[in-house]
Symmetry: C2
Subunit: 361 residues, 2 copies
Amino acid sequence: MIRTAAVVGTGLIGTSTGLALSRRGVHVHLLDVDESAARVAAARGAGTFGPPADPVDLAVIAVPPARVAQVLAEQQRRGLALAYTDVASVKSATALAVSQGAVHRSSYVGGHPMAGSERSGPLAARADLFEGRSWVLTPGTETSTAALNGVLAAVALCGAVPVVMEPSAHDRAVALVSHAPHLVAALMAARLGGASRQALDLAGQGVRDVIRIAGGDPALWTDIIRRNASAIGETLGELLKDLEALTGALHALEVSGSDAEDALASVRELLLHGQDGWEAVYEPGGAPAGQVTLTVPVADRPGEVDRLIHTAEGSGIGADGIRLCWSRGSARLSAPRLAAESVRRRLADDGWRVSVTAAPS
Amino acid sequence: MIRTAAVVGTGLIGTSTGLALSRRGVHVHLLDVDESAARVAAARGAGTFGPPADPVDLAVIAVPPARVAQVLAEQQRRGLALAYTDVASVKSATALAVSQGAVHRSSYVGGHPMAGSERSGPLAARADLFEGRSWVLTPGTETSTAALNGVLAAVALCGAVPVVMEPSAHDRAVALVSHAPHLVAALMAARLGGASRQALDLAGQGVRDVIRIAGGDPALWTDIIRRNASAIGETLGELLKDLEALTGALHALEVSGSDAEDALASVRELLLHGQDGWEAVYEPGGAPAGQVTLTVPVADRPGEVDRLIHTAEGSGIGADGIRLCWSRGSARLSAPRLAAESVRRRLADDGWRVSVTAAPS
């Protein structure tokens, strides 16, 4: 366990870490080159202002990615802590810089909590920011067990789920689930900058959600993107191909020529792929390849889901052959392709309203 | 006022309309080609199942866009109601089809409530779906005042804000704030369909929000996109140009050649444009052209915002020259470009932590 900690850099992530650790009884020291930011963090209850007299159990280096290696080396020279971690969103470039600059490699564990906000600074911080979120750790071959355990303890106190990964695997994953989505949000938001007041008045929750993260700090994100350009470029290169096909299809639909049917099919295919991706994120128990997904409305009455499962089982393929995901108002059943039709018929016979929504090949 | 209504098509929007009107004492009749859907809507309290004996005050044709004109003509022939509206997301194509097929043009007002959900069907419906949302109406030159007033009454009972627009202006606006965002969400979501379990485990609220609407019904959205292809293509064509520039910049950053500085600048510019668009949607009091925006953290204490305004005024330009938008934790002040520096200095002298975040030219 850790009893004392230091947070170097009291922005959103640093201050949130301080709030979370302080709440669990850890004595946290707050440092920032901008003294007023550290004072604001202290005023919010994230810890006490200023460096500790003795080395703390763990220092969290929560400065922008470009400054991690330098600040880490400085603090190691000063003997700030027994173990160190950082929170930079890109791990390969950070690991390289740290390996070149660190004073003690054994006391450092790279880290990246998968949480954030479109707001920045200590005033946007929240003690529960990390609760239930993944917190990636990238220990190197030289990392000591003591250092790893210090960071694991802090992650646990923050209520997060530790995930150990290679830096390069982390960078590819976050390119896909964080960095590319950020740029996609920015691309859409950029189209709205010149929109008329009347058009903006029609903006509902849909577009607000699509662009929400585009409010993030451009300087921080430019730095993140610079350090993970290759992996982000791979994802966005694929997206570019899809978008080219889509704009081509829209043009074909506009002129309503002979390509219109093909164009409609390609739009529909993109939307179906989008729905597959949506299911992968929102309903991760969805249908694997070779399975068919049946969607069934389920009334908000106790026992309805059980009744649905019971009916599906009655189709003769047994419970093992069926997977079910339920969310308010509807259930998705996935069944082996060959058995799906008999399940569908059985459900329909029993009065369920079944639609076949996805049939991945 | 209206006392009786009919909803034809008891999906998400139709059933939500029925729930909202029933709650306000309107007697609603529910019709659907899929009888079980209408029965589910009735069971949820959206009205009574089946057609009325006498014409109702208003019929809401809540069927997919492709079927509006035909269903409207059928119901007008049958004499279902005194006034009719629809809820299709595209209005020019619908207006054209209606003008060719309607039995009485005077009793019809085109409509489009700006509300929805990534879930569909009567079980996803909510009585408060439209509360505070815009509800576009596109009356034609032949629309009677009585029909317009019937629809306006229903919109008011649903708690929505009526907005009268030309069909073509509506279609351009929703292409930008609804249809293009839907496709952008689908494009990003499509990249996630093949993601590894480990990458998906790192997905946080950011990407979830970006792709949330991609869960929508592909058949419905294919139809919407087909009917508004030209306006959507215009927005996505501009987005495609930005994406081409972005992937070029990512490639330049990857090879780290002489273009890297230019590449970084173009990434930063995109992110800044994204932030401008974000502000236009989230903080619509933002800085107009020729103004400079200053961002200032504001502590969560009563009186802090007033203190900030008072200090800014003290810079000598007077309250008329300053606009302020506040959201939890921070304020954005916009001031004329020439006065901004004196405002900034004054605030800094008074202990405020000011950053110049956007300076549109």
